[in-house]
């Protein structure tokens, strides 16, 4: 519609242009119109379609109206620009045309005037010359006549008279012949004799005309007086002299010889003969005459011949000249220039014209001159009439007229007239030239120029309009796009805001939901512990409990996600042992995996920094999510958690596998390298390392198209997953956000074979100067030999590879028979010859000598024994043969029955570790073996068979103690390694079970134990022994001499703790609140140290056990006060917090205020003692 209007407007604006252009414009317009229509067709439906999808109807309408109005405004703008352009171009055209036309016209007019003037001047001049020549001839004739007549003055006789006439005739002929333009020369003598020569232009013949001399008187005419002569010399006399006979004889025109017979002619055949009447005053005169012989007027001049002596007129000479030649000239001029010229007398008689029409009218009295207005030539006639009409009888002075636009008939003419003022014969010349002749070309050119200009301007206008159309089209399109963009941005902002609200809402909601969930779970716990439940109820409640836990976990996940999304997640920066965390994780999951028949393996490379800085909880969360995910989808096979440090060496050491992965992540690697390069300098400062991890499983795998999307929220690789395995799809999303937060990336990478391979890297800080443990040096010189008899092939392979790398000989066996084979090869030389395998050939190389020096370790999976029947006992018996030559280490399942453990124990197999077996456990086993070897060697040197004794001692250990205590016993001789293992297990279970933070103490215990191990003191085991066999080993009090200040307000706890500590030999002083504790420190004398000899003066106590919540002054405040008091001194009294809070925040709070360790109520005796020991022993060691 708009386009139509546009068209109409355009047509209107264009319709003013010239008609021939109209069709062209119309056609052009048709095209533009159709183009616009098609454009509209193309655009509007698509827009409508795109909008239809998600915009509501009213929105659509709104946009349509919006679009329409903008359409109109655009069109108005376009139209305005086009009209302006049209006006501009039109003005330009007109001005150009006007100026070119005017200037040419004026110059042409000037030229035309000159031309006309010239044209007119020439016939006038010709006229003038004719007149002049006529006059000259007349004068010459007169002079000659006078001379001749004087010579023959007074003729005495007839003969003389005749002679006179003869001479006159000759003279006259000479003149006549010399002027061809002359029509006639006449001489009329006084006596009436007439001599005349006449040319007849019709037949170009020349005649001599004379009259007879019969009736002339010799005297008469000569005697006339003035008056009589006057009378005698009139025309009447001549014509009336009818009596005279006129003769005419033809003459040869060239010679004047008589060629014909003289002939008498009638008087009306006579030519005009000038008489005396024509010279009334004796002077020369002329007039225009007509003759019947010519059709043009004649100019005749007359002059008297005077007799000077007598003073009378002797004769009259008349000369006539035809004006024919003037007409001829005019014709020539007009023929060349076109137009009409005519000459008139002042009265208006036509003298000469350029036309061929007759100039004379035949009246009854003979031919007569005609008036110009009566001319038969229409142009001359109308021109004369026009002049007459314009000026009437009052011609302008000088008769000069210049008229440029005289409309004669259908044409316009130039009319110019000139006045030629001759004495007695004034003449007027008129020139009529058609205007077309001069201006015609100009007018035509002007028209053509105008046409060309207009067409050019129209073309320019059209092109301009098209340009404007195109340009404005682009602009309007851009405007539309911009508007769309703005609306999109708006929509996006809205969407973002709503997403933000969603996150906020989720965060709030899940937080709100968590609180009642905690209550539900707590109440369920109470309900479960109720005794009066039937089995059915119990089952139901446990089910509810599980569901609630799952729900709580889901809520936690959502909370995590929304925390991350709202950017509120802040990562801690604390040192932790990455390897241990991951091992604990694998320990935990391995239990779950066993049910699935899945092997869980951890493979961390040696170059991994032992301690890294970061958020341990979040790191563990990442791997827990990944591993649990893997477990969910893996029904058989293995799950490997690999880890290595980003380092060129590690790449090589990790072998081809990691190389392959690197190749798959080229971009990643490049990026990393860049990153590394960038951070190279900063690396020195904050020691950032890139840790690579892989979680590899043999599960169902993920479709490559989903590799990216599995990390999205609520996204699962397969929709059926939820049905089969449950879960929300949040796990991996959390993992990715956490990994990204730690400066890493995670992705699924291609894997050979079934399953999924997740690869990720983390950017974590490491403390400065972390020494790398070099296992190679450690074990190579001990000459270790290890037999790995393990069920899990993956685990075995990885371990043996590692052992091989560290310089330890290994043999692998995956089942019982193989193991027996290897053992026999190794230890029973008689069978050497039977073996052909590679391992055996290697075995052969071991000499007897070497056998004694080297340490054999046989690691046996309990699963190798046939446990279903009683065969396992026999198998153990078989192994007993090798007992003295090698150390046995048993890998137990979590469900290994107690009887087997007991049996093993009884047989002296004391080294036991739980599945899964990994590097650090292997290290412990090997270290234990080495240590034992050293001890036995030393004992051997001393001479006593202590080895035997140790064994006996071990055998004699308390049979009724639990598995744990059994291991503790074991530690007596094996430097507490398995103890460490045990504590780790408790730690891991407690860590991942409920929120229970005994992590710190445990790590401390571990480090302490290591130290103690190095010092070869066994306080822990001593303490243990005391605990379980207190009556027998009462002397050994682990805390002997330790002075402890107990700040506790609850009397029960006071009592319990006091007794506990005193049993260990510690001296305990109890105070009721924090205030008293601070005071007790300030006044050492209050402390009851009477029993002890004081070694050191300050401080009065070795350690403070501080309850956190106490009246008057709580534990935190008291600690702060104590630490303030210590400020400036070297003193640092260890303070251990005692609290019933089990939140990690509490732990953090405790450490923050300056406490050294943290114990939870109820007090675990072992834990407390180890903590106290670690804190008190540490100081003297470091001091001394």
């Amino acid at each position: 519609m708009a386009a139509k209007q546009h068209k109409r407007n355009y047509m209107i604006s264009r319709s003013s242009s010239t008609p021939p252009m109209a069709s062209f414009v119309k056609r052009l317009f048709g095209k533009i119109h159709s183009a616009v229509n098609s454009w509209e067709r193309n655009h509007s439906p698509c827009r409508r379609r795109s909008l239809h999808r998600d915009v509501e109807q009213e929105d659509l309408q709104h946009i349509n109206t919006n679009c329409l109005s903008s359409y109109y405004s655009v069109f108005v703008a376009r139209l305005a620009i086009m009209v302006m352009l049209a006006i501009l171009i039109g003005l330009l055209t007109l001005l150009t045309w006007h100026f070119t036309k005017v200037y040419t016209r004026t110059s042409l007019n000037a030229l035309a005037y000159g031309l006309r003037y010239e044209l007119l001047q020439r016939p006038v001049l010709r006229m003038w010359s004719i007149l002049n020549s006529t006059v000259e001839i007349t004068t010459a004739q007169v002079r000659l006549s006078e001379y001749v007549i004087r010579k023959y003055n007074r003729p005495e006789n007839q003969a003389q008279q005749v002679e006179l006439y003869e001479v006159m005739r000759d003279v006259t002929w000479a003149l006549f012949a010399s002027y061809r333009a002359l029509n006639s020369i006449t001489i009329k003598y006084k006596n009436g004799f007439v001599q005349a020569f006449h040319r007849d232009p019709r037949d170009n013949s020349t005649y001599y005309i004379y009259n007879d001399l019969t009736n002339y008187t010799m005297s008469g005419p000569y005697d006339v007086n003035m008056s009589s002569s006057h009378q005698g010399w009139n025309d009447q006399t001549i014509h009336s002299n009818i009596s005279a006979i006129w003769y005419r004889e033809p003459l040869d025109p060239n010679t004047g010889e008589k060629i014909g017979k003289q002939k008498a002619i009638p008087p009306d055949e006579l030519i005009n003969i000038a008489g005396i009447s024509q010279v009334p005053y004796g002077a020369a005169s002329w007039h225009v005459a007509v003759s019947k012989f010519t059709n043009s007027p004649l100019l005749s001049a007359a002059m008297p011949v005077w007799d000077e002596s007598q003073g009378n007129i002797m004769a009259v000479v008349g000369v006539t000249t035809s004006l024919y030649s003037v007409g001829q000239l005019m014709k020539e001029l007009v023929g060349f220039h076109s137009g009409h010229i005519y000459l008139t007398s002042q009265e208006g008689w036509l003298l000469a014209t350029s036309s061929t029409t007759p100039l004379l009218t035949n009246s009854s009295t003979g031919p007569k001159l005609m008036m110009a207005v009566d001319s038969q030539d229409p142009v001359i006639q109308t021109g004369a009439k026009w002049l007459l009409k314009a000026y009437g009888n009052k011609p302008p002075p000088n008769h000069e007229v210049h008229i440029e636009h005289a409309k004669l008939g259908h044409q316009t003419y130039y009319i110019d007239s000139f006045f030629l003022n001759l004495k007695r014969l004034p003449m007027v010349g008129v020139l009529i030239i058609p205007r077309k002749y001069i201006m015609g070309k100009v007018d035509e050119r002007a028209f053509k120029t105008l046409m060309i200009l207009i067409s050019a301007s129209v073309c320019i206008l059209i092109i301009g309009c098209v340009c404007i159309f195109v340009l404005t089209n682009g602009v309007s399109k851009e405007m539309k796009l911009r508007a769309e963009l703005i609306s999109h941005l708006d929509a996006r902002r809205k969407a973002e805001a709503s997403s933000n609200y969603k996150s906020q809402f989720l965060a709030n909601m899940s937080h709100e939901l968590r609180t009642p969930m905690a209550a539900v779970i707590g109440l369920l716990d109470i309900l479960i512990s109720d005794e009066c439940l039937t089995n059915e109820q119990y089952a139901t409640i446990s089910q509810i409990r599980r569901c609630s836990t799952a729900l709580l976990r889901l809520l936690n996940n959502i909370l995590d996600i929304s925390k991350v999304e709202s950017g509120k997640l802040v990562l801690e920066e604390a040192e932790f042992d990455m390897g241990r965390e991951l091992e604990g994780l694998v320990d935990m999951f391995s239990v779950q995996c066993k049910n699935h028949n899945v092997e869980t393996v951890i493979d961390l490379s040696d170059d991994m920094p032992k301690v890294v800085q970061g958020d341990s909880a979040r790191v563990v969360q990442i791997f827990a999510n990944l591993i649990s995910n893997s477990i969910k989808f893996t029904t058989s096979g293995y799950i490997i958690l690999r880890g290595w440090c980003e380092d060129p060496h590690s790449c090589i050491e990790n072998g081809k596998f990691s190389f392959d992965q690197k190749a798959l992540w080229p971009a990643q690697k490049n990026k990393l390298i860049q990153q590394e390069n960038q951070e190279k300098s900063s690396c020195k400062k904050d020691n950032r390392v890139i840790l690579w991890f892989e979680v590899d499983d043999t599960g169902c795998g993920i479709d490559p198209s989903k590799w990216e999307s599995v990390f999205e929220s609520f996204e699962q690789a397969d929709p059926s997953t939820t049905r089969l395995h449950g879960g929300t799809g949040l796990g991996l999303c959390i993992v990715r956000t956490l990994v990204n937060k730690m400066g890493g990336e995670i992705r699924v990478v291609k894997k050979n074979g079934p399953g999924t391979l997740m690869q990720l890297y983390l950017l974590l800080g490491t403390p400065v100067d972390m020494p790398l443990e070099n296992y190679k040096l450690k074990y190579a010189d001990h000459n270790l030999k290890v037999v790995l008899a393990l069920n899990g092939s993956m685990c075995r392979m990885i371990l043996s590879k590692w052992l091989f790398k560290t310089g330890v000989h290994t043999w692998e066996a995956c089942e019982w028979n193989e193991l027996t084979h290897i053992l026999q090869e190794l230890f029973i030389p008689s069978r050497y010859t039977q073996n052909l395998t590679y391992e055996c050939s290697k075995v052969e190389s071991i000499s007897k000598q070497e056998m004694e020096v080297s340490v054999f370790i046989i690691v046996i999976d309990i699963g190798l024994l046939n446990l279903s029947t009683d065969i396992w006992k026999e198998q153990l018996n078989f192994l007993d043969i090798f007992y003295k030559r090698a150390k046995f280490a048993w890998v137990l399942n979590h469900d290994t029955s107690n009887t087997i453990k007991m049996e093993l124990h009884n047989r002296g197999h004391l080294m036991m570790v739980n599945e899964p077996l990994y590097k650090s456990k292997m290290v412990q086993i090997m270290e234990a073996a080495i240590k034992e070897k050293m001890i036995s060697l030393r004992h051997g040197i001393l001479g006593g068979d202590t080895h035997e004794f140790l064994e006996i001692d071990n055998v004699h250990s308390d049979p009724e103690s639990s598995n744990d205590s059994e291991k503790s016993e074991l530690n007596c001789s094996t430097t507490g390694i398995v103890q460490v293992e045990e504590t780790r297990r408790t730690r891991s279970s407690s860590r991942y079970g409920i929120v229970n933070n005994c992590f710190l103490e445990l790590t401390e215990v571990c480090s302490e134990r290591n130290k103690q191990g190095a010092n070869e003191t066994f306080p822990v085991s001593q303490e243990k022994r005391m605990q379980y066999a207190e009556k027998t080993i009462s002397e050994q009090k682990s805390l002997k001499g330790v002075r402890i200040l107990l700040a506790e307000d609850t009397p029960i706890l006071q009592r319990v703790a006091t007794i506990m500590l005193e049993k260990m030999g510690a001296t305990v002083v109890v105070v009721g609140d924090g205030m008293q504790a601070v005071e007790a420190l300030q006044t050492p004398s209050e402390g009851g140290m009477t029993t002890q000899t004081k070694m050191r003066v300050p401080p009065p106590y070795d350690l403070i056990l501080m309850d956190c919540q106490m009246p008057k002054m709580d534990g935190y405040e008291a600690t702060k006060a104590i630490r303030r008091a210590e400020m400036g001194t070297d003193l640092h009294i260890p303070i251990v917090a005692l609290t019933a809070h089990a939140m990690s925040s509490d732990e953090a709070k405790c450490l923050e205020v300056g406490m050294d360790a943290y114990l939870t109520k109820p007090i675990d005796c072992k834990l407390m003692v180890s903590t106290i020991l670690s804190l008190t022993k540490l100081q003297p060691n470091s001091l001394t």
């Binding site: 109470i526 706890l1053 319990v1056 019933a1140």
Partner: protein, 152 residues
């Protein structure tokens, strides 16, 4: 001797039932282990302390929860103390109630607190009866000249 072994069996049964039903936990075993010649009445002493303390605390809690405007901080402190003492003695079920109780305290949920208080009282009375019975048996055994068997 028959009576002694009868008593001993009764004692063991009672004790194991206490452990099995979750009234007591490992902590109580540890307490028993701490008792020796130097302080022969240690367990009784501690248990008595617990009773006194608990009754005081329960009373405090009851009064605190009856206030017009409840000072949840105060209540929390009491519950915390109760939890500490109960866990020290190994009264597991009382401790569990205390955990829930503290959650309600955090939420400032009066109804929940009152319910929990009631539950805590019940649990306390239960464990008190059981403990008293146990200690009575122990006394009887000692008076009869027998030795108190260890419960593992």
């Amino acid at each position: 001797m028959d009576a002694v072994s009868q008593l001993q069996r009764q004692f063991v049964e009672h004790a194991t039932s206490l452990y099995r039903e979750g009234y007591l936990d490992d902590q109580f075993t540890q307490l028993q282990k701490l008792q020796d010649e130097s302080n022969p009445d240690f367990v009784v002493e501690v248990v008595t302390l617990f009773f006194e303390d608990s009754e005081k605390l329960l009373n405090n809690l009851a009064t605190a929860l009856q206030q017009e405007s409840i000072d949840y901080k105060q209540v929390d402190a009491h519950v915390h103390q109760f939890k500490g003492s109960s866990s020290s003695i190994g009264a597991q079920r009382v401790k569990n109630v205390c955990v829930v109780f503290r959650n309600y305290c955090d939420e400032k949920n009066l109804d929940g607190c009152l319910v929990c208080l009631q539950q805590a009282k019940n649990e306390y009375l239960l464990v008190r009866n059981k403990l008293e019975a146990l200690l009575n048996l122990e006394q009887q055994i000692l008076q009869a000249g027998g030795s108190v068997p260890m419960i593992t």
